[in-house]
Amino acid sequence: MMTAMTPQRSERSDSPPRNLRRRTSDRVLGGVAGGLGDYFNVDPLLIRIGFVGLMIFGGAGLVLYFVAWMLLPAEGHDASPVEAFFRRLGLTPGRLAWLAVAIVAFILLVNSWNTGMGFSINEGPLGIPGVVWALAIVATGVMLVRRREVATGPSMTASASAAALPVAPAVKAPPRPHSPLAWYAIGALSLTVGLLAAFSQVAEREVTPGQFFGAALVVLGIGLVVGAWWGRARILILLAILLAPMGVVGSFLTAPLEGGVGEHTFAPVTAAEVQDEYRSLGGRLTLDLTQLITSPRDIHIAASVAVGQLMVILPEGASIELHTRVGAGDVIVLGSQDVGTSLDSTFVRRHLNRTTFILDLEAGIGQVYVRTEGSF
């Protein structure tokens, strides 16, 4: 007796060229697991279990699924949603490469900040001076601005001839000519940031990371306002969304961007072991001064954490002169807490005939925590 067999999607084998595509039918969510199952010839249920497992343990499954959905074309389509989006914006692979170059150069330039007083002339990414990076950014910007728009001749001609036919059953509107405004704005952004970096070098003026991002956002904003009437540059909104949170965070990074990342503890015993400065880029920096053998002279220490916690443990009854600064976060000094932004405070407690610890403590985003031995 013959029974009707319902075709199973997971057993597809009739399509000779096996392309990785999202399923558009017989799917649970976006068809990613089904498409992967078809491609690798495994039961999609196993892939779904994998996604769910990754979702539970750390949430990576959700991100991976979304990324896969964005990158995989649907059945019957050649382009993924990301490709279709970029095509709609007129972003060819070459232009995307330029954009990537500009973004990487911008990030490298911001990362070359390592003195707290501007870009270092002697040091920079890959050992190349910061000013060279600044010039590279300017050059990139110039090239982007000078980039000529690709003519849309053939497609326009085709549209025009189609419109001239007496009968045109489904005539699509001619594609809107691509506006160079976004590229002008991105070029101007690179130019502005590069010139600002060069200015900070030449004039030896401090320009904070937040101000760099601010300058970039001003250029993008001007580009968008211009694009409200001339040309079109909505792609700049995406860049603005990307840069805005970075700028907000960067504006609070008032501490020097120096030192390593991670958990570091220093417990000097003699005055000779005490360094003038302790710096950390991110993480926790603990300065334990409880075992320090007191000396007749005062001890000056400057310590900072760009992002994270700076903890100082003092001997009981120590004579102290504290100056604390926090861009955003909180300060706890001997049980007294202050929370907010741009926190700046001084604390003085002197005892006669005791070594005075004169501490300059700073955290960009995070916490400065000062306590005595045995207290928390």
Partner: protein, 70 residues
């Protein structure tokens, strides 16, 4: 670049971006009361959504192009 009808979405997004940029450039972000940041962001995003969701005012021709070219 050709002039086109006003794009309110771009204008609004541009003004918001410009404002934030100027705030960051002037170093004045730390003076902004943090309790107003949440409401300001929510209002800005809300305005953008409302503007983006507005029906387009562009006229759609009654007949397909190519029929009335005589």
């Amino acid at each position: 670049m050709e002039r086109h009808p006003a794009d309110v979405f771009s204008l609004l997004a541009g003004l918001m971006t410009l404002g934030l940029g100027l705030l960051l450039l002037s170093g004045g972000l730390s003076d902004v009361p943090m309790e107003w940041v949440g409401p300001a962001v929510a209002i800005g995003i809300g305005l953008l959504i409302v503007v983006a969701a507005r029906p387009s005012r562009t006229e759609v021709p009654d007949e397909p192009m190519g029929f009335d070219r005589e």
